[in-house]
């Protein structure tokens, strides 16, 4: 009698959330990577939203076309957006090679995983190199955490020092806020890229050690791949809000 009742209940409750199977059909580590990335997206959102608030609140703001004008080694000024375009291309490209590594992992092709991981690491390092060049360029001009080219100057010297970076009115405070936020946000992003390159190197050496071959699955490549794409995703937003708008 009672067994009939139980089996009837079982028949009613066979949805994905009634136990006995994995409702999302995802491995634990992958879900945790997603949840970490969602929380990380909140952190970056908070940074970028604060940048937007400052830009909105200040009566004037630095003109991106004027501050980002150089292509290191080619042109000192007069080329807005070109260098950051190269950086964006490098990062999108390395995102593609990462998907190709994940795809090769699905087919258990160790040689292809190694090849694409190497390209991904190379792309990450190139991006970091570009960012280092850009940072040092701005640093030479006088921008840094808590500092802008007019720091320490008085009177009209402030206006002269900041005039090259503004199209509309000139404001010391706006230049300072821009400087702080630029180095904080691109710095936090660059820190993520560095961690990503490190993780990619670890994954590459594990692949070379046949760790995933023995494990029978290249799922770890996929998890680190998620992180790497997230880094690319953040850059898409940083690029828009710092360089375009």
């Amino acid at each position: 009698m009672s067994t009939t009742t139980v089996s009837q209940l079982d028949k009613v409750k066979d949805g994905p959330w009634n136990g006995g199977k994995s409702p999302w059909n995802l491995e634990y580590g992958k879900i945790m990577m997603w949840f970490f990335l969602v929380s990380d997206a909140f952190t970056f959102s908070a940074f970028l939203i604060y940048y937007g608030t400052q830009k909105f609140a200040q009566p004037t703001w630095i003109d991106a076309d004027k501050i980002f004008q150089s292509i290191p080694g080619i042109a000192e000024s007069g080329q807005p957006l070109v260098f950051v375009g190269i950086m964006t291309f490098i990062l999108i490209m390395s995102s593609v090679t990462m998907v190709l590594a994940v795809d090769a992992g699905h087919r258990n092709r160790k040689d292809e995983v190694v090849k694409w991981m190497l390209w991904t690491i190379l792309g990450g390092l190139m991006f970091l190199g570009c960012q280092a060049i850009e940072w040092s360029h701005l640093h030479h001009q006088g921008f840094w955490f808590g500092r802008n080219p007019a720091t320490g100057l008085e009177g009209n010297a402030i206006v002269d020092a900041l005039a090259p970076y503004f199209t509309k009115d000139i404001s010391y405070t706006a230049a300072l806020q821009f400087s702080n936020l630029f180095f904080t946000i691109t710095g936090f992003h660059g820190f993520h890229v560095s961690i990503g390159v490190l993780l990619n190197i670890i994954i590459l050496s594990m692949t070379l050690n046949n760790t995933f071959e023995r494990r029978g699955t290249y799922l770890m490549v996929e998890k680190v791949g998620l992180y790497w794409h997230f880094v690319d995703l953040v850059w898409v937003f940083v690029f828009t809000f710092f360089y375009l708008i």
């Binding site: 999302w24 608030t53 400052q54 375009g85 828009t240």
Partner: protein, 126 residues
Amino acid sequence: MSHHHENIAAHDHHDDHAGMDKKGIWRVFFILLALTALEFLIALGFVHHWGILQKGMLVNIIYIVLTLVKAFYIVAYFMHLKFEKSGFIVCCSVVFIFILYFIVLMLIEGDFLHGAMQAHPIFPNK
């Protein structure tokens, strides 16, 4: 419990990479590249060079829409979220309602500060 794990592993190999082959990957890459190129065309061409468009609300909205489309392609195809179970997609995306709310709040705050800082004069301390 062990049965449970086998279940996951067995499924993983099957439908996990449904919908993304090499051709699909390169297609998404060219979409991303085209959208970025369009942003550059607007910024360098239309705004900077030819002066057809002015920097302002309209151009900013175009940039933000293009950015969101790019973000969709990265998350949906490169991060594979489009091919996960719908419950998981909702779980990872619906929380961003709070971010929208935060944006609205901070824009209101910024707008207030914009007016307040100019309306209240600063007097020398002496």
